[in-house]
């Protein structure tokens, strides 16, 4: 089984030379710009902070896709719901971090249950799965509004409000915390897929379900675990988003759109790619907003998607994805 999967992964790092060159060029541009202009530096830092939030949700999307070949349109709502669960735990007296770490296994179970009950019966048809996740989107939104109401609620900021200053630039500890959490999540995920048996089994179940089950992988369970893990990542994303969006049923909706863009931009199969793409998207939006007059606020969203569509036209598998070869 290992040979089945690793042969493909030997080809699969997906970082081609042109993309790497672009990345380096962008990095140099950002560094030089920041040294020259304070406002450039601050916009970049702010863009990275916002991008980290896109990245954290994008990670969950990528994980679900990689583990189950499914796009989950309800990912944002699921993330929002698990954040409300954490909130409820704090209302019952738990400290923020205790509630945070208790929510993760709850989210895992929730993800598994959703996959088994709602997705498994229909997973042979892409259209059916899309529609079921759309139904979940609406259902979860309704349930959360029913239970907790739609008024603004607030949780304690996880990393505190302290702001470090260097040169003319401010770095909020909260933003650094979100960035660090995203990067940590990517590393843990990569470790899971590369080094653990479960990770290997999950990859096999997604890529070659028939062959995998022949060698003893419980394919159905791997898909469910994939959803469970994605729900955990979603909960983390929601909790990282709450300090800036606050707690309301629509809190993840602005993020979801950009997270999709980041996930596709980076390549739906590449966790690291989606994080890098998320960060780049955040910085891009801020810099364009600052320096390009025509790009007024109404165009922010359409611009992000225009960029996305252009990239997809030239490299459909995203910046860091593998080329999809369809065997006849």
């Amino acid at each position: 089984m290992a040979s089945l999967v690793s042969r493909r992964s030997a080809v699969s790092t997906g970082i081609s030379v042109p993309v790497l060159a672009i990345l380096v060029a962008v990095g140099v541009f950002l560094v030089v710009g920041s040294l020259v202009s304070d406002i450039f530096a601050q916009q970049t830092v702010a863009g990275l902070a916002q991008g980290a939030i896109f990245a954290s949700l994008a990670l969950a999307l990528v994980l679900i896709y990689r583990a189950t070949e499914v796009i989950n349109f309800a990912q944002g709502e699921l993330a929002m719901a698990t954040t409300y669960i954490a909130y409820q735990l704090t209302l019952w007296g738990l400290s923020y971090w205790l509630a945070f770490f208790l929510t993760l296994p709850i989210a895992f179970v929730l993800g598994v249950v959703l996959q088994v009950v709602f997705i498994r019966p229909v997973h042979q048809s892409i259209i059916a799965v899309v529609i079921v996740t759309v139904g979940l989107f609406i259902l979860i939104d309704g349930l959360v509004t029913w239970k907790w109401g739609a008024d603004l609620k607030f949780m304690k900021a996880p990393f505190g409000n302290h702001v470090y200053r260097a040169g003319g630039v401010a770095f909020a500890r909260q933003d650094i915390g979100v960035l660090a959490t995203s990067i940590l999540s990517v590393i843990l995920l990569w470790g899971l897929f590369q080094f653990t048996k479960i990770g290997l089994a999950m990859r096999a179940a997604a890529l070659r379900p028939a062959a995998a089950s022949l060698v003893g992988v419980r394919v159905n369970w791997m898909l469910a675990i994939g959803w469970g893990l994605a729900a955990v990542l979603g909960a983390v994303a929601g909790l990282m988003t709450e300090p800036t969006q606050f707690l309301q049923p629509t809190m993840m909706q602005p993020i979801l759109l950009y997270a999709f863009a980041a996930a596709v931009l980076g390549g739906l199969e590449s966790p690291a790619g989606s994080v890098i793409a998320g960060l780049m998207l955040g910085v891009f939006l801020n810099l364009v907003g600052q320096y390009v007059g025509f790009a007024t606020s109404e165009l922010r969203l359409p611009l992000a998607f225009a960029v996305l569509l252009v990239v997809l036209l030239f490299k459909p598998s995203g910046l860091f994805g593998r080329k999809q070869v369809r065997r006849v």
Partner: protein, 321 residues
């Protein structure tokens, strides 16, 4: 062609008769609801042509409805165009937009296409805000006159009837077979000489044109008022859900899908347990999921199941549509 076809024709005629006679027994308010169901009928029909028959997923038909709707509002508001005359105009404009979307869409498939159309659904309603001089921005723009509900009902269902017959004629011919070939196996289609890009793009254009007309009628049903909040992502989701409930790949269930999406808010508003507002969402979401799990081919699939009970042994050999 055969007994089964004649049977379906009778059913269609009966349904059409009911629809034609219904407004006489309905209050003005209910006629308005009936018109709204008709709007969804046309939009779902359009989406079905695309997703049901060529297998291209679109979660973005709300965007085409927005284009059609704003066309009607702006033409009537700025140029006093007759309301009915704006309908073919909306059809033509959204047909072209559909073609423009269909061409790059050739590069995407499956979930990527769903995502791309999702992006469309979210971005297009932003545009009226940017070009607020022409579109009234967030204050919306309204037609010169607002039609009454019985006018709306008649015009909407007349368009629905035309659209239905048009779709049926299209789909039973060569184009329809090409569409189905695209859906079932692109490889087989290409190797038997079906020019994939043409048919896939054509499907997008036609589907968008239907949505455009639906959008015009949607605006007319909203007192002639076009405003960005009317065309949110939920509208696109509703059309997709309606098409799924109707049964993708078949025309026979579209009425049911339209009734489901158009009237469910009415009905679930009176569901006592979950109360107002959010109760609707919960009921809606649950029903959609249940339908997809239990009745994956929607109402049309149910019809086929029922039909198969009545088939004679000989007839059951014939291929389904």
């Amino acid at each position: 062609m055969n007994a089964r076809f004649a049977g379906r024709l009778v059913v269609i005629a009966a349904v059409a008769l009911v629809i034609a006679l219904l407004p006489f027994g309905l209050t003005n308010y209910h006629q308005g609801l009936g018109a709204r169901v008709g709007v969804y009928f046309i939009a779902i029909l359009g989406l079905n042509i695309l997703t049901g028959y060529t297998g291209q997923i679109s979660i973005g038909h709300g965007a085409f409805m927005a284009i059609g709707g704003y066309t009607t509002a702006i033409m009537s508001h700025d140029h006093g165009t007759n309301l009915i005359a704006t309908l073919p105009l909306a059809f033509a404009i959204t047909f072209v937009c559909g073609l423009l979307v269909g061409v790059p869409a050739l590069r995407f498939s499956g979930v990527y296409l769903a995502l791309a159309t999702f992006a469309l659904a979210v971005s297009v309603p932003q545009l009226p805000l940017k070009f607020s001089k022409f579109t009234g921005g967030s204050n919306g723009i309204r037609t010169a006159t607002a039609p009454g509900n019985s006018w709306l009902y008649g015009v909407t269902w007349a368009c629905a009837a035309i659209g239905f017959v048009g779709a049926w004629l299209l789909l039973r011919g060569r184009t329809g077979r090409a569409f189905r070939a695209v859906r079932d196996s692109e490889l087989a289609a290409t190797s038997s000489g079906v020019a994939l890009p043409i048919y896939k793009t054509l499907a997008f254009g036609i589907s968008a044109a239907y949505a455009g007309v639906a959008g015009s009628l949607f605006v007319l049903a909203t007192a002639g008022f076009a405003q960005p909040n009317e065309f949110g992502i939920i509208l696109s989701l509703e059309i997709l859900i309606g098409a799924a409930v109707a049964g993708l790949g078949s025309l026979w269930g579209v009425v049911v899908g339209a009734v489901f999406v158009g009237l469910l808010p009415e009905i679930s508003a009176s569901v006592p347990v979950l109360g107002s507002g959010h109760g609707q969402d919960v009921v809606f979401g649950l029903i959609v999921i249940a339908v997809m799990i239990l009745l994956p081919n929607g109402f049309a699939g149910l019809l086929r199941l029922v039909e198969s009970r009545f088939k004679t042994p000989i007839e059951s050999d014939s291929t389904t549509s």
